[in-house]
Amino acid sequence: MAVRPEPIARPAPAAPRVLSRRSVLEREGAFSWLMLAPGVLFLLAFVAYPFFYGIWLSLQDRPVARAGVFVGLANFITLAHDAVFWQVTRNTFVYTAATTVLKLLGGLAMALVINQSFRGRGLVRAFLLLPFIVPTILSVVAWMWIFDPTFSVINWVLVHTGMISSGFSWLGNKSLSMVSIIIVNTWRGIPFYGITILAGLQTISPDLYEAAAIDGATIRQRFLHVTLPIIKPILIIVTMFSVIFTFSDFQIVYALTHGGPANATQVFVTYAFDLGMSGGQLGMGAAAALAMLPALAVVIVALTLYIRRDT
């Protein structure tokens, strides 16, 4: 390590004690740890501690108002014997898989459309991102009305164009309620994919396309052999992020269906909420929330490794 030149000595009005404090602060290690301390302590107290406390809770029979009793893995065993828990697992995977595919394809299509040059592109991009920035619960309120059993505008259009004779019960029917939450999650997520992928597309030099065109590549070949390889890292990162946050989604499901009808749309987090908060069984709730950790951990570790690979 290079020896740093001493700061030029100035007539020091400060007392020697202050000078020495300053020289300690000039050391990289001391300066770094002093800067880090408040944030790191905060995260230890309010992220790391609750995380491990959650594991401890999951091993207890712990009603809200009473002290807990250690029960070992009993909560997890109860969950494993509960048909609802397996339905929740299935629902969460279906929800995540379906929305991820739709968001990826929709976002890619959106990015390719906006990547063409046209007037007002900046404005269009700004408007298209709106679903993603507006607070989720507030936009879901609009969707609740769109899916209303009596006054659904989708039903109105379908009935009046003669496609169906009577309206669907979007949130009351078991399969349709799953379709409904998938629609809303996809609607909110497509702009995230679209705008991020667009940023990737804009890093591609037009020269590459020209070279490919001169070599006689068709549009399809140019997409498969020029565009796709370049934006692949972005697609992977965006998808992994989105999988993490969709898998642990709460807001859309809670507001639209509360997990119903008959648990048809119950996912891990709404289920943990029902057990732990509404039901007051903190131990069971913590266990249900932790049950999503194995699947999540795979994606989180993969994403951390993938990000670190290119830095």
Binding site: L36, V113, V141, F151, V153, P191, T203
Partner: protein
Amino acid sequence: MIEGRGILTRTLRLYLPLAVCLVAMLFPFYWMLITSIKPNSELYSARIMPLVVYHPTLKHYVDLLTQTNFLTWTYNTMLVAVVTTTVSLVLGTMIAYPLARMNFPGAAVVAIGVAATYLVPQPLLFIPMADIINKLELGNTLSAVMLTYPTLLIPFCAWLLMGYFKSVPRELEEAARIDGASRFQAMWRVVLPLTTPGLLSAGIFAFTLAQNEFLYALIFLSKSEVRTVPVGAITELIRGDVFYWGQLMAAALLGSIPVAIIYSFFVDYYVAGLTAGSVKS
């Protein structure tokens, strides 16, 4: 002939898909707007064409502002968002700066820890957190959410800012140090001014996230006077089976406006923050 074909291709490739995108993405907001200005007679009629308004009225807005605590909820939401964004930006900077620019023992561990806290989703923590907040006797106070929101925002700010801090050439800082600047002065006067776009991106993004937060607010705030807009709207404008649709839509629209305004001023910074993690150029 050729002109005509050009327009046709452009319509098929650009205008038509663009229109589909815009309608699909923006229709719910249009629906929010027109529902909020429909009188109840139009709102609850299955026979009237629902896509337009015949007799617009501001009644739902007046009711929302005079009969509910909406203004208090708005004040709470803004207060919490501003406080938590500021705190998170400061602490996030203090974490990101040494990690991006210093060599010191333990740096790698802290960096992985920050990445992990960023990626571990909040739903893993909300049940133990509810118990902790309960024990601290902070239930039904804004302190409860002011204390918990930064757990989501600090890792995000730190993670985003690290990239910006790394992009400033080391020579600039060293030159300042040779001129007698302390480490802190080199950061404050040289590096931070150069990373203002990053600070803006992180701040706007954190503000949006704070406005969007719902789970902690739902759990911790059960008294009307301390609620935020999302929780207030969903718990008090829906009573049992009765939905006050007009007021709900008015609340949704008004509640979205602060975010939308800030977003419209800083849209480029927002997009930069959104893509900073995934696009490395």
